[in-house]
Symmetry: C2
Subunit: 474 residues, 2 copies
Amino acid sequence: MMTLDEFQKFAHQLVDWMVDYYRNIEHFPVKSQVEPGEILNQLPQEAPEKAEDFSTVFEDFKQIILPGMTHWQSPNFFAYFPANASYPSLLAEMLTATLAAQCMIWETSPAATELEERVMDWLKKAMGLPPQWEGVIQDTASTSTLVALLTARERYSEFSANERGMAPFAPLRVYCSTETHSSIEKAVMLGGFGKENLVKVAVDEQLRLDPSALEKAIERDLKAGKKPLAVVATLGTTGTTAIDPLKPIAAICARYALWLHVDAAFAGTALLLPEYRWMIEGVEQVDSFVFNPHKWMFTHFDCSAYYVKDRQALLRTMSVLPEYLKTSTRGRVKEYRDWGIQLGRRFRALKLWFVLRSFGLEGIRQILRNHLQWAAGLEEEIKGQNDFEMMAPRTLNLVCFRYHPPAVSDEQKLDEINQALLQRLNASGRLFLTHTRVQGKYTLRMVTGQTYLQKKHVQQAWQFIKQTAREMTL
Amino acid sequence: MMTLDEFQKFAHQLVDWMVDYYRNIEHFPVKSQVEPGEILNQLPQEAPEKAEDFSTVFEDFKQIILPGMTHWQSPNFFAYFPANASYPSLLAEMLTATLAAQCMIWETSPAATELEERVMDWLKKAMGLPPQWEGVIQDTASTSTLVALLTARERYSEFSANERGMAPFAPLRVYCSTETHSSIEKAVMLGGFGKENLVKVAVDEQLRLDPSALEKAIERDLKAGKKPLAVVATLGTTGTTAIDPLKPIAAICARYALWLHVDAAFAGTALLLPEYRWMIEGVEQVDSFVFNPHKWMFTHFDCSAYYVKDRQALLRTMSVLPEYLKTSTRGRVKEYRDWGIQLGRRFRALKLWFVLRSFGLEGIRQILRNHLQWAAGLEEEIKGQNDFEMMAPRTLNLVCFRYHPPAVSDEQKLDEINQALLQRLNASGRLFLTHTRVQGKYTLRMVTGQTYLQKKHVQQAWQFIKQTAREMTL
């Protein structure tokens, strides 16, 4: 059994390895190059009976596991949305894992609860969210959105003549745009609404939810005897970071008394910049709001910031109180276990605190503005080429584009070319991009949002993309 | 902004602090002694504009946060169920946080998916679970149980004449014992079944679910036009670690075609010991099974091992496939995002791998047997006193007892005495116990399950409990 002295020795070794990892990270193949089964087949079929030396285990980590990792913290990672880490956040994770406290209720670690309350308040103020909102850290936006829809369902069932919970007479309808993240559809399924009761409303030419289409869909449902329940507006869609127009959507929700949930999972961080506050005009009407500091705010996954206007509705949805959780402080403290699905909770506020203090709001804003500026520069570059084109308006730091050699006009051929281009780029290991489809067309996505990204990485990537595309045999 | 060199310096400092923490942990007040608001009021109202030095932040961590932590890793922590950490697991958490990979799909880190498959397989074999089962790591047992009930609901809706999802004609009924964990009730609420459709079945004198009462409840529901859907059997209840009799419950589930979910969140670890395999007689009939290595298997939270018999039913419940998650390996690899609620996933298999290899199965078994033996010793001690009594049979390493001075026979008075005793014990900071009620009677719970617990800690605790009780003014 590893002793504390051995732990000390290995932990110091690990720290040096960790530093080397970050020092060299941009030279690793960004996207893992292994084949399905390649890792699995190197791992024995049975757990070892006898204890093994940590040095053996660590060696296997380096030899077997590491080649199977996609390096999300590489500055050459431009795929999906980033999942940001940072050095201060990493230090916090070390401490969180050391304390290893189960922060399910106030009493099981008062500091975890109270620090969470405070940092969620800090963020709310720094982002210009309504002062009366209250926040809690969830694990993911998937969970946050599920929690929102469950709360909307609960509030409805209180208002309805039926019993609480399942089986309303009319199907409950949830609205979002055709560009909305898959987690909305999943939440609708898991919430028992029935997949067919998610209404995907049309978008405008900028891929933003069209409020008039929303209103028509609601009217249509009302006439058909269905019950409109909730709208999910997205600030920053996954495909293209389109920003749904919150103000008219909020007005519609007010008119029909619908729950309004805002999914700002990625783009929410931009609210730290005053120049992006236009995104939340109409926010007073919003019932719940999620954004993920673990995406673009340098804080380790999992850290999803969830805000609610009406705390009581959330608590009614989530509260159960068994004997073994009754404490003498009940009623005087926040019990975050009643603010989400899981009873067990990690001490997640610590990393947010470390990040906010170590970077400072100014420091965070500066990095965000760099990312945005580099994306704008990339957009200009793309627009300046006759064989590349922008595929969607750039609103933040995601650039959607494709290679379009002037000689090719067939859309299917263009799809094939860009699919092949993406495959070739990613196989190089030099960068990692992902794709989406914009109006059916295969589109490359490049997000400039990694914590330690520098301008040179963006420039190198763009040179490499251009070169690779132009070297392809069409 | 913290540089990599600064990170290196601070990370080494932290490692030494972490080691000191563990070296001194048994001398800290186990349960935080702060008052509500005490931490909150020390934290500024606004996030800092300017970056702060890490040394300042770390100093605040030690001065402000640490006194507000309950020390779950203290060997004097006997409360709830443990939330085990261990040195190998901590090393893994450092690496996980360093890689900071978002392991949502195979492609975003093949090693994370394939290592998860392998370690879940290792555990399955080591615990004697059915070979055809397949496993996935969820965050908590709360989530695992919710996933189980959602899958049961989905399977039912496929079989029923109704549309998928919500609004079956008959209320769906879920059965568990009166001793079941609150997460079952919460899952029933969140799953939209309606709280009133959770049927809490009576227990026998050993607080185990009574199969004949279960069958009667099912029959009663059928006659009333309700639809029995699922049974949750508990191996190791939270109150007293009662073990529901799986074999007769499984037979009933087979007879009525009910989904059988097993919540072995804490006690599951004991299946590593052949002498505890009797707990799972009848397991072939089980549909889903959860146990938490983060409780009693030295692996950091969150790590909840969830097994299913019919993977397809789970996938049908959880799968959505948007364009931006389509990859060329689709169909050839496991996509664990379709095995649970959240899209985002931490690399949680690594710590399990480090633990299993660093302790070895033999090493783990030895520690479990120590814990069990010390609990047995404690039981003997209690039985040997004329002023203490056991309140429930001891099945594992949880001892349920109370102080019962011979002169006192009034039950309400005994409740008050034991409540006061618990308060006094925990206020001392020397240990931390929690309580439950057994047949309505206030009962102290003492779990001997902390990773680095030694016999002397159990003995010291028991001496202190005896002494404190006997010094009380009645």
